[in-house]
C-alpha cells in the first residue's frame, strides 16, 4: 500500500501587473507524502506565495488544498478555512517572536490560542517543549535578549505548542551564517522527532535543499519545472534550464554520434571529443543537446600524454579562488573546482582534459 498523501494542493493564483511589477501567475500542483518538501527557486519564483496560499494568508483563484484528508480550500465548493482553523505552523526567516513577550509568554500565547486540546495537555506540552529545545533557562527573556540560535529554537517550540498539522517554513535560514544554519538543521531534527506534521520549506539555498529536502520542487516563474524525490531531481534534471538553474552541473553542447542498444552504449560528440555512456532510450543519432555532468563527478587533468576515452579537451578561460579550492573556468561555460594539490599540475596550462566517467554521462535534449 502506498503511504497516504499528506499534502495535495493545486494552486492557481493570478496577480495583476501593478506599477513596475509584471503580471504573475502561480500554477502548481504540490503533492507530498514525504516529511520535508522543499520549494526551491530564485526570488520571485512564487515560492512564498505558494506557502501563503497553504497557510491561508493568500486566497488562490482556483484549486484545492487537502492536508491529511482535510479540506482547507476548494474554489469549486467555496471552502476556505481561515488561517486560525488550518493549524499550520508558520515560521518566518526572522522567526517573528512577539517582541513584547518573554519566551514563556510567547509559548503561553500559542498554548492559549490552540483550540483543540485540553488546558492540562497544552501546559504539559509547553513544559516539555521548553525542555526539549533547551529554553528552560531562557524562558524569562524577551526576544531582544536572545541570540540568533536561541530565537530559532524558541520560534520552533512556539510553533509546536499548538500541535500543528503542517509546518510552513519561509526561508528560515536566510541571512544566517554557516554556524547558525547548522544549529537550525539540528533543531529541525528535534522538531521532526516531536511532530509527525509534514514540513514545507521554502529556500533558495541549494545546499539546504539537498540537505533537508526528501521531496524537492524546483520553481521558476510560478511553476514547478521539476518535482520528485531529491535523488531523482538531482541525478536527472528534467531540462538544460533546470540543470543550469541548479548551477552544479557542467553543460557541454553534444550530438549523438552512435547508439548501440545491444551493448547498451551510446557515443556522444562533445566539443570535438568522443564520450561513451549508457544507451539513450528514445533518442536518434544526430540529436543535438547537452552533456550534463555534475561538477563533482568529473575530474580535471593536465592535457598531456595520450587522451583516454571520455576525456574532453577544453580551453581554460580563467581561474578563481574559491572556498573549496581553486575554480577553473572553461570554455562553453563549464567549470571545475580543484584542490590546491591538483591545481599545481594545471597551473599555466592553456587547455585541460575533463575526465567524465561513463556512469556520469547524462544527455539532455535541446
Amino acid at each position: 500500500m502506498s503511504p497516504p498523501v499528506k499534502i495535495d494542493a493545486r494552486l492557481i493564483k493570478r496577480l495583476p501587473a501593478i506599477g513596475d511589477s509584471e503580471a504573475f501567475e502561480l500554477n502548481v500542483h504540490l503533492k507530498s507524502d514525504a516529511g520535508v518538501t522543499v520549494l526551491w527557486g530564485a526570488s520571485g519564483a512564487g515560492k512564498t506565495l505558494a506557502l501563503n496560499c497553504l497557510g491561508g494568508f493568500s486566497k488562490p483563484d482556483e484549486g484545492r488544498i487537502l492536508v491529511n484528508d482535510e479540506l482547507y480550500f476548494d474554489a469549486a465548493t467555496r471552502v476556505n478555512l481561515p488561517p486560525q482553523a488550518r493549524r499550520c505552523g508558520y515560521m518566518f526567516q526572522d522567526h517573528a517572536l512577539f517582541p513584547h513577550m518573554t519566551v514563556r509568554e510567547n509559548l503561553k500565547f500559542a498554548a492559549a490560542s490552540a483550540r483543540h486540546s485540553s488546558k492540562l495537555n497544552k501546559h504539559r506540552r509547553m513544559i516539555e517543549l521548553l525542555e526539549a529545545f533547551e529554553l528552560g533557562d531562557l524562558a524569562g527573556r524577551k526576544p531582544a535578549q536572545l541570540s540568533g540560535g536561541q530565537k530559532q529554537r524558541a520560534a520552533l517550540a512556539r510553533m509546536l505548542v499548538s500541535d500543528p498539522r503542517v509546518l510552513l517554513l519561509d526561508e528560515p535560514t536566510r541571512g544566517l551564517d554557516a554556524r547558525l544554519k547548522q544549529a537550525f538543521y539540528q533543531v529541525l531534527h528535534t522538531t521532526r522527532g516531536r511532530s509527525q506534521a509534514p514540513i514545507v520549506l521554502v529556500t533558495h539555498d541549494l545546499e539546504e535543499c539537498m540537505r533537508l529536502g526528501e521531496s524537492v520542487c524546483l520553481m521558476e516563474d510560478g511553476r514547478f519545472v521539476q518535482s520528485g524525490s531529491r535523488e531523482q531531481v538531482f541525478a536527472r534534471p528534467a531540462s538544460a534550464e533546470v540543470a543550469s538553474a541548479l548551477g552544479v552541473y557542467n553543460l557541454l553542447p553534444a550530438k549523438i554520434a552512435a547508439l548501440d542498444p545491444s551493448r547498451d552504449t551510446c557515443s556522444l560528440d562533445v566539443a570535438g571529443s568522443q564520450v561513451q555512456g549508457r544507451y539513450l532510450k528514445g533518442r536518434l543519432i544526430g540529436d543535438q543537446g547537452f552533456l550534463c555532468v555534475r561538477q563533482t563527478e568529473s575530474r580535471l587533468l593536465p592535457n598531456i600524454g595520450r587522451r583516454e576515452p571520455n576525456q574532453i579537451v577544453l580551453r581554460v578561460i580563467g581561474v578563481l579562488p574559491s572556498a573549496q579550492g581553486t575554480k577553473v573556468l572553461l570554455e562553453h561555460g563549464a567549470a571545475a573546482t580543484v584542490s590546491e594539490a591538483e591545481y599545481v599540475h594545471l597551473r599555466g596550462e592553456e587547455t585541460v582534459k575533463l575526465d567524465v566517467p561513463a556512469s556520469a554521462v547524462y544527455f539532455l535534449a535541446k
Binding site: 497557510g55 486560525q84 518566518f92 490560542s113 531582544a144 512556539r158 510553533m159 499548538s162
Partner: protein
Amino acid sequence: MPAASIDWFPLWLSLRVASIATVFIVTLGTFVSYLLSHKNFRGKEALDSLITLPLVLPPTVLGYYLLVLLGRSSWFGHLYEEVFGEPLVFTWQAAVLAAIFHSAPIYIKGARTVLEGVDYRFEWVAHSLGASEWRTFLRITLPLAWRGLSSLASLCFARSLGDFGITMMVAGNIPGQTQTLSVAIFDAVESGNGKAARMLVLVISVTALILLWTAARISRPTVRASHTE
C-alpha cells in the same frame, strides 16, 4: 487685579471636555482605524476621505452641520431630548461633540498609519497559532501599536482643549456652563480683560506644550530598543 478674580471654570470645563472627547475618540477611533488598516471593503477610501473632511472644512461649516444634525428638530436631537429631558445644543455635552469632530480626524488618520505599521508577520503568526482576530488584536497588534496610539491620544487631547469655532457654534458661550478655555479667552479679549486673557493664554500654551512633549516622549522608542530590535 487679584488673581482670585480670574474665573478658572473654563479651564476645568475644557479639561473635562477634552478628557471625555479623548476617551470617545480613542475607543471608537481605534476601531475605525483598525477597519481602515486591516480590512478591505467597498467605500473604504471614501470613508477615509469623509473622516478627513473636518480637517479641511472651516469650523463654522462643521458647526453648522452639527447644529443641523443635533438641533432640536433633527431626529437625533429629538431622541436626545426624549431620553435626557433637555436639548443637546448649547450644553457642555455639545462641546464634547464639537471637540470630537475637531480632533478625531487626526487620531484616526494617525492610528491607521500606526496600525498599518505593525509588522503583519506577528499577526500572521498569531493567526497560524490559532488565535482569533480579536485576541490577536488585543494581545499582539495593540501592545505593538501602543506607543504610537498613546502619543496620538495625547495629541488628540491637546487639540480637543483648543477648539473654538465648532464649540462656539454648537455649545455657545454661556459663562459657567459652556464657556471653554478658548471661548473664554475670546470673551476676555472682547471685553478688554487683558489680564485674564494673558493668564488663560499662558495656561493653555503651557498645557499644550507639556502634552506635545509627552507625546514626543512616548512615541520615541528607547535607545536600547532601537539598537537591538
